[in-house]
Amino acid sequence: MAESTVNVSIPLVSAPKRSPLTERLRTTFLPRLLTGIVLLLVWEFVVRALAPAYVAKPSTVVMAIPRVIIDPAFLKATGATLTAVAEGLAIALVFGTIIGLLIGRSTAFDRAIRHYVNGFYAMPMIVVLPLFSLWFGYSSATRIATIIFAAIFSIIVNVADGARSVPREYIEVARSFRSNRSSMLIGIVLPSSMPYLLAGFRLAAGRALIGAVVAEFFISIGGLGYYILYNSRSYHHNEAFVGVLLLAAFGVGFELLVNWSTRHFMPWYRRDEKAS
């Protein structure tokens, strides 16, 4: 919707001869630009015609952007949420990778905890919020715990998948060179399951953002989620929507970053359907 403004900056060159670039502009960017404009216009006019004045629409949201992005409260909220997400993701990544590698390479460990991992993974993550708020109180610890809980299981599940699918020959070669268990895990299994780890991380990042926002709604601590909640409650929908746009930008940014690094660092890896 409002994100379509991204495409506006692309110059529409009309060359007499059709180079591949102009061809691409014509077949890809033009339809995207047009669709974006249509979506924004529909949104604008539907809201103007049917909704009360406070409801966010593209024209007023755009006007709110310069005001909001220099607002110290907004910057502080963004910082708080992003720090929490980064911390939670880092913790989830370290422990999730370790547990995933163990599940993938040890049958006993796999049998002992796989059902719990799958069970927690299938659980709608936000149900733990009331419990976490009892345990950790109405503090940022609850937010971090929610983020970790939201993120860790998709990393475990994907790393375990990756560790299971390490080609047998690699393991056999390592064995015949008398490599010990830990150097095999770190030197062979981990690099070989890297694409899975990244796929898991991509999912985890999305879930971590949701976890952070939901935790802030629930326990009312300062952050982007709470900023959105507070402003929409006081009928400042345009300001609140800028927060949503920023969250969308983070979501898309993570997605693009992970896709790019998979392509760039692991060109040998065919995109796996299972990981989505």
Partner: protein, 252 residues
């Protein structure tokens, strides 16, 4: 190896790990304060009390109504729309990036807007579940459509296939397995949407059960409701996997 032996090899580790988990839960619950954690036996006792008290099944039914209404609308809107995008290439190219953007956005952030515009009724909650569920269906259906080889459509065209036959014989069989992957993902997301709607919009169903328990510092009640929602989640996920595998046979 006989069937019995196979069954033992398959299920015994599962039951052992389940029993060990319950034993650990019981031990942890007994050795900490009751406000922090309650043992498994206490959780079951509380769950039984909730069931006997009478509201439990009503709340379960409330949640199920919300879940299935939102999910059904998502399926009915998402699948045909996805296939339409599959067929009309210009439309697909135009709209794809926006679907991807919304798919990557944490949609929970929209709940406060829905609350202040639509209030506390049933409709806003259905909208939340719908929003959570529709994008996986749409995204995967479009993905499936991209997997159709253009030659297939060309061949069908050169045999003067009608538009209807083209949809029935080519579009549907090729995209449906992908749609079902979307359905599996949508089940998980719709469940999150359901709980979020019950937490942050009007409090009903299983969400109310867990919120009520938490506000009364009834830790056993919180554990009991999380257990129920967890089991519902696992059950629905299983169902989703079964559906996905059933249709995956069409893929190749």
């Amino acid at each position: 190896m006989t069937d019995v032996q196979q069954a033992i090899r398959r299920y015994v580790p599962f039951w052992i790990s389940l029993l060990v988990g319950i034993a650990l839960w019981e031990a942890a619950g007994r050795s900490t304060s009751a406000a922090f954690m309650v043992p498994f036996s206490e959780t079951l006792r509380r769950l039984w009390q909730l069931i006997v008290a009478g509201d439990f099944f009503k709340q379960l039914a409330d949640s199920a109504t919300l879940f299935f209404t939102g999910f059904f609308i998502a399926l009915v809107v998402g699948t045909p729309l996805g296939m339409l995008l599959a067929r009309v290439r210009a439309l697909r190219i135009g709209i794809e990036p926006y679907i991807m953007i919304i798919y990557a956005t944490p949609l929970v952030a929209l709940i406060p807007f829905i609350l202040s515009m639509m209030g506390f009724g049933f409709a806003p909650k259905v909208l939340v579940v719908f929003l959570f569920a529709v994008f996986p269906v749409l995204y995967n259906t479009v993905e499936g459509a991209r997997s159709i080889k253009p030659e297939l459509i060309e061949v069908a065209k050169s045999f003067r296939s009608s538009e209807w036959a083209l949809w029935r014989e080519v579009m549907l069989p090729y995209t449906l397995p992908y749609t079902m992957t979307g359905v599996r993902q949508a089940i998980g997301r719709a469940l999150v949407g359901m709980v979020a709607a019950e937490f942050f919009l009007s409090s009903t169903g299983l969400g109310q059960l867990i919120m009520g328990a938490s506000q009364n510092f009834d830790t056993a009640g919180v554990f009991a409701s999380i257990l129920v929602i967890g089991l519902v989640g696992v059950g629905l996920m299983r169902l989703g996997l079964v559906i996905e595998h059933h249709f995956a046979r069409w893929r190749n």
